[in-house]
């Protein structure tokens, strides 16, 4: 187990990220793999007592997100392929930095949209529509037909501006 991996798992954002991409059980799988350094999916499933398919899904999600890798080997006698897994939590900072850049781009788009439109919202909580769409729907909610009411988005704009600035600062700092 590397020191970097241990530290990364102490980061609450990294843990949240792992849970979101791979499910609640993923943390147990990650802890087990961290403890063993390398292990096959069968070994992990047996030790954490989770369904093998679930463990495979978790590992594959970690792999897709750059937090685990595997090597394949074929048993010469049986022809069976074995996947041996290893965590690559040292990539977590880079992965989350990319996600912050994506979030920043999306929040900028959203800020522009919020700034340039007037909104009408469903009182039953089915979201809001910009003026053009609201008027096309005769100011009725497309989901529940309730009358739409004017939505004041100043607070949303302020929150977006605030987080955009924070993200810019953090991204800048981490890229140095």
């Amino acid at each position: 187990m590397s020191e970097t991996d241990t530290d990364k798992l102490q980061d609450s954002v990294v843990r949240k990220f792992i849970k979101e991409i791979s499910g609640e059980e993923a943390i147990e799988v990650v802890k087990k793999l961290r403890e063993k350094e390398t292990a096959t999916d069968e070994e992990i499933a047996e030790e954490v007592e989770f369904d093998l398919n679930n463990v495979r899904k978790i590992l594959y999600k970690l792999y897709e997100n750059g937090l685990a890798e595997y090597t394949r080997s074929r048993n010469q006698d049986t022809g069976w392929i074995t996947y041996t897994w290893r965590l690559t939590l040292e990539n977590a900072d880079k992965v989350l930095q990319n996600r912050k850049e994506e979030l920043l781009k999306n929040l900028k788009d959203k800020l522009e949209f919020e700034t340039n439109n007037v909104f009408y919202a469903c009182p039953e909580g089915h979201g809001k529509l910009p003026f053009k769409e609201a008027s096309e729907n005769n100011f009725k909610c497309p989901k529940c037909d309730s009358g739409l009411i004017h939505y004041e988005n100043e607070e949303t704009i302020e929150k977006l501006k605030e987080r955009i600035e924070e993200l810019k600062e953090k991204i800048e700092k981490q890229s140095h």
Partner: protein, 102 residues
Amino acid sequence: MKEKILNKIKEKETVFQNQLWKELDLDSRKCSKIVRELEEQDLVKREWANTNGSRTYKIEYNGNKDPHSTLIAGQEIAPCAVCEEECTPEYCRPLDKWVSFI
């Protein structure tokens, strides 16, 4: 060395720099250099302060301001960090909800 200094700051939460190098029995300039590096990494923040007639830095552990905290609002991670759907942020309800937690 860096780890040792950071752990001491973590343990105390707030510490004066001249107290830090004395307690850890370090060279003051070396200690200052490392604390500056920790500050650049956003792990600690420091500001000038006076203590017992000496001018030194007051150092605070920046534990809550970890490098990825901007992905979190309320207790939730931003949907954009984990979403695999085609993206239309302007109309994304989960993103609207997340922004309301900021």
